[in-house]
């Protein structure tokens, strides 16, 4: 219900938001189509999918504090029989719902290009869901530890995270281009997921052990952020 009330009215009254979400992630594709080498566009498309779900995951929690602080919906909900975990899940799910049309669009293009079948589609979806979970967890960490920060500071942090986690690391381009530094892609959830999707689509050769390690790192990162958030977050103020 919280996910619905935080997404549906926005979509209903401002459907352009869906195009904006898709366009922000698709901008690098435009430049890649002009300047990048042949065969790089599919890497960019994978980056666009990861970017759509990641950027929105972080902004969800950040938006939660600056937006809800102003309209005080959360204050009203705290005094209601709503579990804090439900509230957090709804807050994270709302932008996920808004990003779905963009993901379907990018997925359809990948499918038209012949990269998606049933198995690769399932693995791509699972990887993207994990990216959403990890990035939402990062967003909640920020919103919890910077509870009193101004909306302007939070907005800047959100933009910096976008640069640091999405546009700089190998999300839109394959990690093999980094040569000896390709291990960096495993550390960040965004590039880790992009690498995993490339592996499932047959664009990045990885050993089964490496894939398992990458999944474990991704899960561990997410769990760590969730635990850190739950240690600090308070539903009722003291």
């Amino acid at each position: 219900m919280i996910a619905w009330m935080k997404s549906y009215p926005d979509f209903k009254r401002n459907p352009l938001v869906l195009i904006v979400i898709a366009l922000i992630s698709a901008i690098p594709l435009f430049f890649m189509a002009i300047f990048a080498a042949e065969g790089m566009l599919i890497h960019g498309l994978i980056g666009a999918m990861v970017s759509t779900i990641s950027f929105i995951g972080v902004s969800a929690a950040i938006q939660d504090i600056s937006w809800d602080r102003y309209v005080k919906i959360r204050e009203m909900i705290v005094a209601m029989p709503v579990h804090p975990a439900s509230y957090a899940m709804g807050t994270a799910l709302a932008p996920f719902l808004l990003s779905l049309p963009s993901l379907v669009f990018f997925g359809a293009i990948a499918s038209l290009w012949g990269f998606l079948n049933v198995t690769t589609t399932i693995w791509t979806i699972v990887s993207l869901v994990m990216a959403w979970a990890a990035m939402s967890a990062i967003g909640f960490i920020i919103s919890t530890y910077l509870y009193k920060a101004s909306p302007w500071l939070l907005n800047n942090i959100s933009n910096l995270l976008g640069l640091g986690l999405i546009f700089i690391p190998p999300v839109y381009y394959p990690e093999t281009l980094l040569g000896g530094l390709s291990w960096i892609s495993v550390i960040l959830p965004t590039s880790n997921v992009a690498g995993l999707i490339r592996y499932y689509l047959g664009l990045l050769p990885l050993t089964p052990e490496t894939v398992i390690v990458r999944w474990l790192i991704l899960i561990a990162t997410t769990v760590t952020f969730v635990v850190l958030t739950s240690l600090k977050a308070k539903w009722r103020e003291t």
């Binding site: 309209v71 909900i77 705290v78 709503v82 009722r236 103020e237 003291t238």
Partner: protein, 304 residues
């Protein structure tokens, strides 16, 4: 009348840059079906009290019960029975008043059908049924406030808590909110309201408490509170003459003077004297504001 809300030696201390004791052992009892107002100046502890009672904030010491459930030990049980409208609440522009009410009813676990009915009923009770499909960004300040109140009403809880619900509203919009609140009381709801507006407290409350610097300084019906003052009338004199303070306690408001007198005859006598001297004067019964100012201090006396 049995109790809906009862606070027991409620203490709240904030530790930020310095230690601030917001509540210093507050004991308040609110009966079921009563509209109870917490009246106090800014920073008196009204919002802190309401936030503790509504389970948003933990007290430093003491406890309170809502319909018998402890706000400290049983917040989940308390939350089933309350709805809150926070201070300075803003509306989300993309919601319609109907969506506000419907979503909050759904969050309470109501089925879609029940929530729809509850939303319609709540909007009707705050006179917003005609505007239910308009987005909040297009509503006036009073309509927005009523939309939020409707979201609390749609929850159909036994106890409503509203933190300065009419602040920033014009007189007409304020009366619309008051009317909605009194309708709720008529239907058996208990309402806890905070305000710093005397007229509001006097107009809507069944009972009220005046809170100042974390202490309750008076509690009772508006007429009981007013009877706490030994002077029963006030005469506002536009101008000054030497023997003005012989008539009673004088408060200076720039070039005007409020003289508090004990009887109607004393008020009439003062009126005659001032009129003879060519000054303007107006007499009326003492107001809640007069008593409030006396109780919380801040009178600029000009006595003997």
């Amino acid at each position: 009348m049995s109790e809906a809300v009862k606070s027991l030696d409620l203490v709240k201390v904030y530790y930020s840059k310095e230690r601030v004791e917001a509540l210093k052992g507050v004991n308040i009892s609110i009966g079921k079906g009563e509209l109870f107002t917490l009246l106090g100046p800014n920073g008196a502890g009204k919002t802190t009290f309401l936030r503790i009672i509504s389970t948003q904030l933990l007290p430093t010491k003491g406890d309170a019960t809502v319909l018998g459930y402890s706000v400290v030990e049983q917040p989940e049980k308390v939350r089933e029975h309350i709805a809150v409208v926070p201070q300075d609440v803003a509306t989300y522009g993309n919601y319609t008043p109907w969506e506000y009410a419907y979503y909050f009813a759904r969050l309470r676990g109501m089925s879609s059908r029940t929530a729809r009915l509850a939303a319609d009923k709540a909007l009707k009770s705050v006179d917003l049924a005609q505007l239910k499909e308009r987005t909040c960004s297009t509503l006036s300040g009073g309509e927005k406030k009523r939309a939020i109140i409707a979201s609390a009403l749609a929850s159909d809880t036994d106890v409503l808590m509203l933190d300065e619900p009419t602040s920033g509203l014009d007189a007409v919009a304020r009366r619309g909110v008051w009317s909605a609140l009194r309708d709720m009381v008529e239907k058996g709801k208990t309402i806890l309201l905070t305000t710093h507006m005397m007229e509001e407290a006097e107009m809507v409350s069944d009972r009220l408490a005046i809170i100042n610097k974390g202490n309750v300084v008076a509690e009772g019906r508006p007429d009981e509170i007013k009877s706490l003052a030994k002077e029963k009338y006030r005469v506002v004199v536009s101008g000054h003459f030497d023997k003005l303070s012989n008539y009673g306690e004088v408060t200076k408001l720039g070039d005007r003077y409020i003289v508090y007198v004990k009887t109607e005859n004393e008020a009439l006598e003062l009126l005659k004297t001032t009129l003879k001297m060519g000054l303007r004067a107006e007499a009326s019964p003492i107001t809640l504001e007069d008593v409030f100012v006396k109780l919380v201090g801040g009178i600029n006396n000009e006595n003997h």
